[in-house]
Symmetry: C2
Subunit: 706 residues, 2 copies
């Protein structure tokens, strides 16, 4: 049994700090549980020694409670929490929720106290939610163990959507909106400070929980990337749709900004990448999250593909939906031949296209709407999802009754394909249809957006790679403070670099150039000059030996003049590369998620349009190809406007090797920039590289970022 099970299914519950005032933090949960008719044992505990609290026999201490207690709610002021937890440990309580605030979120003393609470729980084998938690709900067990004032105005009903949020207020907003829409919930939990139980572990629980068929989650920050990844993957493996929100798009801290790649990352892009890799759909708003979750709950499935068919009685609405769909990456294939023939016979005046505009003729054909849908779903039908725009028929239930039954039959006959009705309808009509697995939306654009989100999730899950290996590699890495050292290391890791040479005299520079063939490039080499062009430290297109010797002298004198403090290793001589497409590849060492591979094209698209993509390391060459495809500018590599196709395979290989290198040395790296990495018609090559190492001694555990 999952260790969080007693959180939701306790047979006995005590509230330490229970209050007779039903408006106080210690009074509200008791009131909600009594009002709802929770069937388990309920023990109010208050050291005041009152004999009765809110009509229930009360106890002065937990120890006085007869028999075992599964679940304890602690709602006493900060100074009493530690003692309360010790009481729980002595009573062999299984799970504790701490509602009290004023711990790690408040100050250092609070953080210290919170750490002591964790120790007490660990030693006693108890699980703890909070501190600073708002509570949890299990409507099927009438267990409303929260002090949220939301319960003053509404009571969530049982359903199949489970919800885990860090912020209780955010969770209340989400389940409040769900409840007002008539959407039921299996479990709801707010994790607060996450000293022990975090959102990831709740997702893990919900993935196991038989009553939960769809999962909603919301994070403000994640401390344990590996645990989150594993939980998301578990939900995907369990076939449970998962819609997640990540609130706050603050930039990553200074530690991560050691490289250009790091500064491009921002943690938002990293969360996007991790969610996508783990088959979760990130929603931009609470409403979008609920739309997708409810759609999945009603249909019980994700669409098998991104192909949709649209039947409509309004040309305009059909076009609106088609435009929305293609904006969201959905596809509208033509009708199958058999369908087109059947429709031509059924409604001769309508054009058998997709969207299929029935014209007003459909109303003059008995059972017209249903027969159109039947035809659109004939064998050979390409649609993963079928939409029917039915205007306002659901507002006239008696006129709609026959069609309603036929919609339910069609759904039953095509269990593999979500059927989505877009119409205005009375609540009763909607409920009957949804109970039979037929989704109903009022707004056409929201219907399309919800299906697009679900279909995207299905696609992500189909393409999901098996687990990302923990990136704890700590293979020793020699220093790489200069471009030459960095390239040598990357070359050794299998990333193509040029045959270049660091020279310490004008003569040796000319000799090196002679061996490579002209023209060549000369660059100053110094760990103290990371940005060579700023001191005029790069000279290109040198045609002969005398130009090379002159370049050597120019660079050395410029360095002496413009960076007098810099220790100079010499001048790098390398073959001049022409042509090809400049790309940027890099590694961002994320403090939560470990090494992330970055890819973008050279030029300004990266900065102006944020046209970059990230993926967790390590990456196979095949997955690197998907990373390349995720960047819009990659079109320039693939035969742009009749131009040539560049060697994306060489690029993918390099990305894969770079990712493996990053994993091997995860503990020592701060980040890597390879800019430019030039992709040629055949092959690809690194022209400049910067490896940034961690300043502090290697830190074996991922750092927290808050």
């Amino acid at each position: 049994m999952h260790s969080l099970h007693p959180l939701f299914f306790p047979s006995s519950v005590a509230i330490i700090g229970a209050s007779s005032d039903p408006e106080r933090i210690g009074g509200r949960p008791l009131r909600f549980l009594v009002e709802a008719g929770f069937a388990g044992a309920l023990y109010p505990v208050n050291r005041s020694g009152a004999a009765e609290i809110q009509g229930l026999p009360a106890f002065a201490s937990l120890a006085d409670v007869p028999g075992p207690v599964d679940h304890v709610i602690v709602a006493v002021p900060v100074p009493g929490v530690e003692a309360a937890l010790q009481d729980c440990a002595r009573k062999a309580v299984k799970v504790v929720q701490i509602f009290t605030a004023g711990f790690a979120e408040a100050d250092a003393a609070g953080a210290e106290l919170q750490a002591r609470l964790v120790r007490i729980c660990r030693e006693a084998g108890m699980r703890m939610v909070g501190p600073n938690a708002l509570g949890l709900l299990n409507p099927s067990a009438k267990f409303y163990a929260t002090f949220s004032t939301a319960l003053n105005g509404l009571r969530p009903k049982p359903g199949v959507i489970g919800m885990a949020t860090q912020s209780g207020a955010f969770g209340s907003a989400a389940y409040g909106m769900a409840t007002l829409r008539g959407i039921g919930l299996s479990r709801v939990i707010a994790t607060g400070n996450e000293a022990d139980v975090d959102v990831a572990e709740c997702i893990d629980y919900l993935a196991d929980d038989a009553d939960t068929r769809v999962i909603c989650a919301a994070l403000e920050a994640c401390k344990d990337g590996a645990r989150l990844r594993a939980a998301l993957r578990k939900a995907a493996a369990a076939g449970k749709p998962l819609v997640i929100m990540k609130i706050g798009r603050t930039e990553v801290g200074a530690a991560a900004a050691a490289t250009h790649t790091g500064s491009l990352a921002g943690n938002d892009a990293i969360y996007d990448a991790v969610f996508a890799e783990c088959g979760a759909h990130r929603a931009a708003s609470i409403e979008e999250m609920l739309d997708i979750a409810h759609l999945c709950a009603v249909t019980g499935q994700l669409p098998a593909n991104e192909r949709i068919g649209i039947m409509t009685g309004s040309g305009g609405i059909g076009i609106l939906m088609a435009d929305d769909a293609s904006d969201l990456g959905m596809v509208l294939p033509p009708l199958a031949t058999e369908s087109a023939e059947a429709l031509r016979e059924l409604l001769p005046f309508a054009v058998p296209a997709n969207p299929y505009d029935t014209t007003a003729q459909v109303t003059s054909v008995p059972d017209g709407v249903a027969r159109v849908l039947d035809a659109m779903l004939l064998p050979g039908s390409p649609f993963g999802t079928l939409f029917a725009y039915l205007a306002h028929v659901g507002l006239s239930p008696s006129r709609f009754a026959a069609t309603e039954r036929r919609m339910i039959d069609i759904r039953a006959a095509h269990p593999d394909r979500p059927l989505v009705l877009v119409m205005l309808s009375e609540q009763g009509v909607t409920e009957r249809l949804e109970a039979a697995g037929v989704a109903v939306f009022a707004d056409p654009s929201r219907a399309v957006r919800a299906i697009a989100g679900a279909a995207r999730m299905a696609r992500l899950r189909r393409g999901m790679r098996s687990g990302i290996a923990a990136a704890s590699g700590s293979q020793p890495l020699p220093p790489a403070s200069t471009e030459a050292e960095a390239k040598a290391l990357l070359g050794a890791a299998g990333i193509p670099v040029l045959p270049e040479q660091t020279c310490t005299s004008a003569e040796s520079a000319a000799r090196a150039a002679h061996g490579m063939g002209y023209p060549v490039v000369a660059k100053i080499v110094s760990a103290d000059i990371p940005h060579k062009t700023e001191v005029g430290g790069v000279l290109v297109d040198l045609p002969d030996a005398s130009a090379v010797s002159a370049a050597y002298r120019t660079l050395m004198s410029r360095a002496a003049e413009r960076a007098p403090q810099a220790r100079i290793d010499g001048v790098l001589i390398a073959p001049m590369v022409r042509g090809g497409v400049e790309t940027i590849i890099g590694i961002h060492m994320d403090p939560v998620f470990g090494p992330m591979v970055m890819f973008g094209l050279g030029g300004t698209a990266v900065e102006l349009f944020k046209d970059v993509a990230f993926a967790s390391a390590p990456l196979t060459a095949a997955h690197a190809m998907s990373l390349i495809d995720a960047v819009r500018s990659s079109a320039l590599l693939k035969g742009w406007r009749g131009g040539p196709a560049y060697d994306t395979q060489a690029l993918a290989d390099a990305l894969s090797r770079l990712s493996e290198f990053a994993v091997r040395h995860a503990d020592q790296l701060a980040g890597i920039d390879i800019n430019p990495f030039v992709v040629n018609l055949q092959g690809a090559v690194c022209l400049d590289a910067l490896i940034s190492m961690r300043q502090a001694p290697a830190n074996p555990s991922p750092r927290e970022h808050t």
Copy 2:
């Protein structure tokens, strides 16, 4: 009085083709009018000669109706429509709605018949809606003159939002959704085939109509751009918010694709530009349209600026709203000093920032929420709009009553600033607040999106230029089939071009080059070779006279070999330009909206990211500067990453002059591409140009596109 007034306020109405069957097209409007209790005279007309139809005295022909008839609904089959309209003309009817379909939308014969209907109306001075119209509504007059089955399930109530749509089905969807949300409507009209009355004219009417304070509109295609522009501007001048949808993003027809500019236009970008110039907000979904319209109806105003303040009881929701707001171009300035001080005193534990997170402390302060809002609105407050996230308090009306009254007082004390409450609430609470001008939203993201749309509309209206002159210029234009001719014309129009020369011998080429100074560029000149590089027709960086002579011979022999049929005018010699930023400027001759100026940067941003912007011609240099600013890549012109600032003033001047040139020659032009137009540190210059002329004789009226 507006000529459309009798459409909505008839004192007497006849229905030609009235039916006893309340489910038929001729029966439904009669039923709806009777059921609703329309107070005017109602005359069913049916040539069957029935004495009574649906309980009302009926007439065999319109002529038999005693007394005048203002408004006639025609619902007879196609063959009877013309005669019915002649009856109306004889009866001196003011307005006619034709519900019958099967005209221009069906076939050529239908189009011809429709043209005859228009003639009858014009001659009789009657106004006509349709044919193929679904009807119109004026809820305040209980006038439901439609055959839409939407009225079977709902009846729109009076309100201040007027709605004009081309498609009746689209309109039904929109007013149906509005009605289910409790949103009232002043007028609703569907224009169908728009043989006479179009959406633009309805907007014009709604701009005058005293009951209408907010306008919603939806178009599928516009035939008269000038009329639409004028109507949108009139709504803006009347201070009535206008939210519009344009359905269908098909590309413009072949006529417009004569130039690269034309192919980039697509009519979607053109509609975007026109709507924005005329101060209308384009909505992407029906829900967004209703959200913004309802917000404006409730608050009775547009926000004065894009600065918002957010009060929140949930840190997470505050961050979500702040992120949404900045995505949509809104700004969150810090609290005024006075506000921050007051809040520090009121809630010492909360940080006086924006969003202002009250923390749970606010609940322990009497009247806390209202006092926080008071403090945020102290003198010096920078906020154009104030949001308050109040969770679910509106679901407990008695607990909320005191705060509710305070919210209404605060709104009254700050009539210049919309106050938006984001909370779950009972319908009664919402209605009381909204009646007092306080907006209420359940979903935080939708609240922010609605305010952002309204604030954007206000900004567009503040920046609106005075009317666009009708672009009917037909000043004669000499031929411009070659680059040289095109540049000569543009140069004469004040657009900077290089001092270049078309030469017809190697010697004259060398002489010309000598006069310009080296290096120079040589290009083949032929009206038959529009794409010179494809035949190797351009040679650059020619350093001296012998290179120029050789280039002349090379180009002539390449042309002879690779384009043997081409008539060659000679070789163009021009100074070689280095440096600067390449831009693309052009003119798209839109068949509906006339000449539109296009701007984008060279490189791939135009194609990959559609990073271009359009504006109606003519354009002052100041408005050209806004056009430049609307393109994201323009950052490269303005000191990108510490680089130099280029001469955007010279660019703006060129755009303005090009726009005036296009207006002067609107009748003859098909389009203009200037690519590249190089912007230097000082000045700018056209390096290549293509002027495309209309093939057919100049057409004085804008062509239709469908």
